[in-house]
């Protein structure tokens, strides 16, 4: 690292901008901004051209759906950014900021998707990406259904698509498919040959609505189940339930309120993720901050983020 003094580049600023120092002298990884993992084919081509010209023999697909160009010489930064800019591909971030949101494919072509996670990820990326938290990184992820491929509860704020089913008895032909399909045991066929719904067992997957051949099961409510306080890394936490059926169009507003609480409550705690702040402050503190703005969605009570034992260390 003897060369560092000879350059005028501030490595910390570079890191914040998505340029990550590599082992080799003068070389950096450039992390690209790919919200929701969706990449148009022309952009992919452009990235391939830039990687071929300035990068190493391969690119790396990051854990959060971005493409990382490797072995970029810092002298080429301006050229790389300019070249990528032609195809409107921007560079991502690192550090104590709101990161690029992740998302599953969503509902446009995936038959499991209940909500438009791609739209939500793009909106969060546009409005909140790069916002400094003052404390630590802040990750947001969107899953379109309770299969939860994106592992939403391992994000600082994780969203999971949800549907509340309602039955129109007149349209039911008593085929029993909904009861058979409900893996949660929330539907049983009653004596009158019609389904009986046990609301407390429902996880909002919408399988009954999808399987119903006559559309007797309908969408009563749709939105996101929200879990807060998750993270992975050295000391993993699983986020816990703070709200249900948050409307898709209020996602950014919801995250903003959580962020404001985090900024305030983590003050003086150093580099600490929101999950640990919730454990310290108690989940009621965040619930009561959210409730006035989202009274119909915030749950009555919840538990602190759940510690996952790694069984190594103290």
């Amino acid at each position: 690292m003897a060369d560092e003094n000879k350059t005028s580049i501030d490595l910390n600023n570079l890191k914040a901008g998505g340029f990550i120092k590599e082992r080799g002298r003068d070389l950096f990884t450039v992390r690209l901004r790919v919200p929701g993992g969706r990449m148009t084919v022309p952009r992919l081509k452009k990235i391939a051209e830039v990687a071929e010209r300035f990068g190493g023999e391969f690119v790396h697909l990051s854990m959060r759906q971005s493409i990382e160009l490797v072995n970029i010489n810092f002298r080429d930064f301006d050229a790389v950014v300019a070249e990528l800019g032609d195809g409107e591909q921007r560079v991502a971030s690192c550090g104590a900021r709101v990161r690029v949101p992740t998302a599953c494919g969503g509902c446009e072509y995936n038959p499991n998707g209940l909500v438009d996670t791609q739209k939500a990820a793009l909106e969060v990326d546009e409005k909140l990406f790069g916002t400094p938290t003052g404390h630590h990184k802040f990750k947001v992820g969107f899953a379109g259904c309770p299969f939860d491929c994106p592992k939403s509860a391992t994000n600082d704020v994780g969203f999971q698509g949800a549907i509340w089913p309602e039955l129109s008895k007149e349209e039911c032909i008593s085929c029993g498919l909904c009861a058979k399909s409900c893996t949660e045991g929330a539907i049983a066929m009653g004596d009158d040959g019609k389904p009986v719904f046990s609301a407390d067992k429902c996880i909002y997957c919408g399988d009954c609505i999808k399987v119903c051949p006559t559309e007797a099961w309908k969408t009563g409510k749709i939105g996101y189940t929200v879990r807060i306080g998750g993270k992975w890394g050295r000391h993993p936490l699983v986020g816990t339930l703070f709200a249900t059926f948050v409307p898709e169009e209020r996602v950014v507003e919801f995250i903003s309120v959580v962020l404001a609480w985090y900024k305030e409550k983590a003050d003086g705690s150093g580099r600490v993720r929101i999950g640990d702040i919730i454990i310290k402050e108690g989940p009621d503190s965040l619930l009561s901050r959210l409730r006035p703005r989202f009274p119909e969605y915030v749950v009555e009570k919840t538990i602190a983020p759940q510690v996952i034992s790694t069984q190594v260390g103290a």
């Binding site: 085929c175 498919l177 058979k180 399909s181 051949p213 006559t214």
Partner: protein
């Protein structure tokens, strides 16, 4: 009534076979499909409905399902 036995045929082949069978019929014709329990009965009725056909009935019978469909469209 025309009956198409799709028992023992897995997804999505059963759906494609049902689609081909419906192509041979005139609009308004009613056909019965015999479907296995499990994935076939969960998927095929929904997919045929998605194609615009009219679902008349779905009943369980001796370990399989009988799906009654009325053809809609050409």
């Amino acid at each position: 009534m025309h009956t198409v036995d799709l028992r023992g045929v897995s997804c999505p082949t059963n759906f494609v076979k049902a689609k081909l069978a419906l192509e041979m019929l005139d609009e308004g014709a009613v056909v019965e499909f015999l479907l296995d329990d499990g994935e076939p009965v969960k998927n095929v009725p929904r997919s045929l409905k998605g194609e615009g056909h009219k679902l008349i009935g779905l009943k369980e019978a001796d370990g399989h399902y009988v799906l009654t469909i009325e053809k809609v469209g050409e």
